[in-house]
């Protein structure tokens, strides 16, 4: 689970989490309106270099994190290639491949990868506690939601351990196979999931009690570890957005840029 690990110090990791989140959101929305294969490819390459250099991440880690995105990209590509009408390139029985399908499929697939590399850069370089603190102080998320989210995050770290404990406790009482191994059924999986949910709710009630007893919701609050938006963060955010704008602008000038109109 990527969130629980400590984040390496790097230029990207030192940037303000709220600024990074805002940039990621902006870039994802902007890419939604780009539907040619070339522009997102450039964004992807720039993003890959930026994440590896700026985040001081090993290439292997970044590539491994991209596998789920790659699987989805392949799925989107093949669906579009096989189902989109247009000039037929290749036909075999009910299967046919069209030029339009290839272009739109490649555009959607590369777009998935481009958004993916930016998300990976965010997740791998952002400490979750810093994100919560930053959301509270910089994005002015209220004290209640941010502390509740923090409580939820604590639970997230504990849940895998609890899951193992529940499974072990059930295995002690479970009927054994002839060779002595535990007979696990899908029903036992469901029971364990239900137990986990009950445990999570009970723990949440206890956390709420202790938060209430510590005066959660009283104003004004002071914080121990202030997070600030520095001038470097502003420069970082502005330059990424500007870079994306330049890429899309050049693509438009060269005539390769296509919007959602490419679909119809």
């Amino acid at each position: 689970m990527s969130g629980a690990e400590t984040v390496r110090d790097s230029p990207l990791a030192r940037r303000n989490p709220t600024v990074k989140l805002a940039v990621l959101f902006l870039a994802s929305v902007a890419l939604l309106f780009v539907l040619d294969p070339v522009t997102p490819s450039v964004v992807y390459l720039l993003g890959l270099i930026g994440v590896i250099v700026g985040g001081r991440l090993p290439l292997r880690t970044v590539l491994a994190a991209q596998l789920p995105f790659l699987a989805f990209a392949v799925g989107v590509f093949s669906i579009n290639v096989l189902s989109r009408p247009g000039t037929v390139v290749w036909q075999e029985g009910p299967l046919r491949v069209t030029v339009d399908g290839l272009i739109v499929g490649a555009a959607l697939a590369v777009r998935t990868l481009a958004i993916g590399i930016l998300s990976i850069g965010f997740v791998l370089t952002t400490d979750s506690l810093a994100l919560m603190t930053s959301l509270h102080q910089n994005a002015h998320l209220g004290a209640r939601p941010s502390y509740a989210l923090m409580a939820g995050y604590r639970l997230l770290q504990q849940l895998p351990g609890e899951w193992t404990a529940i499974r072990d406790a059930q295995a002690v009482r479970a009927p054994l196979r002839r060779n002595g191994s535990v007979h696990r059924t899908p029903a036992s999986f469901g029971r364990a999931a239900f137990t986990l949910l009950v445990l999570a709710i009970r723990r949440g009630e206890r956390m709420a009690q202790s938060l209430e007893s510590r005066g959660l919701g009283l104003q004004p609050r002071t914080v121990w570890n202030p997070v600030r938006v520095g001038s470097l963060d502003v420069v970082f955010g502005a330059s990424i957005v500007a870079g994306l704008g330049v890429v899309i602008g050049i693509a438009g000038l060269l005539g390769v840029l296509r919007g959602p109109g490419a679909l119809f």
Binding site: F72, V123, A151, L156, L159, E212
Partner: protein
């Protein structure tokens, strides 16, 4: 009457059988007419977050397995894969059923989406969160239409269907903008059915089962079941 013979009691007013203290407390507790307030307590927001987090983990596991499970449906009728997509919608309905406050369904589904996005999904952070927003909003609107006062099974089913509709609208715009009409129709209908059954009915049964364990004793959802028992 001879001495030593105990006369049989003839009057019919029965004395109450003494109840164990916990049972007595439960009866007394259920008689309190707790005033319904729509303000979020601390326990509401923390437990909603906790449900969201747990659901986010379940979504994450489902993200790993859903593709091979739903692929056969896609082959039978393109778009029918959405028949199983209701799994992604249960967080909002369950949160709404348990917390019973304005925004609970939206918040729980959104937290679940954010958690599964943080842990890593194939759709990219912002788009996963956008789906959570659309799905949670669908359920939220249904709970709001019943003025946050009705949490019976049919409302849960309608909320699930609403979440399914939200999912269909979002998916068809974001992921399948270019598909033909029959795909969109099949996808939409499948999403609504799946939301109603998997997210609606199953969440209602789940909330009832949770209440029976006593874990929801600080919520109206839990006290209702305790009063019936």
């Amino acid at each position: 009457m001879p001495r030593g013979v105990i006369r049989k009691r003839t009057n019919t007013t029965r004395r109450p059988v003494p109840l164990p203290p916990t049972e007595r407390a439960r009866k007394v507790h259920s008689q309190f007419k707790t005033r319904r307030t729509l303000r979020w307590r601390v326990v509401d927001i923390v437990v909603a977050s906790v449900i969201g987090v747990a659901a986010g983990l379940i979504f994450w596991i489902w993200n790993l397995f859903y593709a091979p499970v739903t692929a056969p449906l896609e082959v039978v009728a393109p778009g029918a894969q959405a028949l199983l997509y209701g799994v992604w919608l249960f967080a909002g309905v369950l949160g709404g059923l348990i917390i019973r406050k304005p925004g609970a369904a939206l918040y729980t589904e959104l937290v679940a989406a954010i958690v599964s996005a943080l842990v890593g999904t194939q759709w990219g952070g912002a788009l996963t969160i956008l789906s959570g927003l659309a799905q949670g909003l669908g359920a939220e609107i249904v709970f709001a239409l019943f003025l946050y006062g009705n949490y019976r099974a049919y409302v849960a089913v309608l909320a699930g269907a609403g979440a399914g509709l939200g999912m269909a609208v979002n998916d068809l715009i974001t992921w399948y903008p270019a598909m033909d009409f029959s795909f969109k129709a099949i996808y939409g209908v499948s999403a609504v059915i799946s939301g109603a059954l998997i997210a609606g009915l199953l969440s209602w049964l789940l909330a009832r089962a949770l209440a029976r364990t006593g874990a929801l004793s600080r919520f109206a959802a839990g006290r209702e079941v305790a009063a019936r028992a």
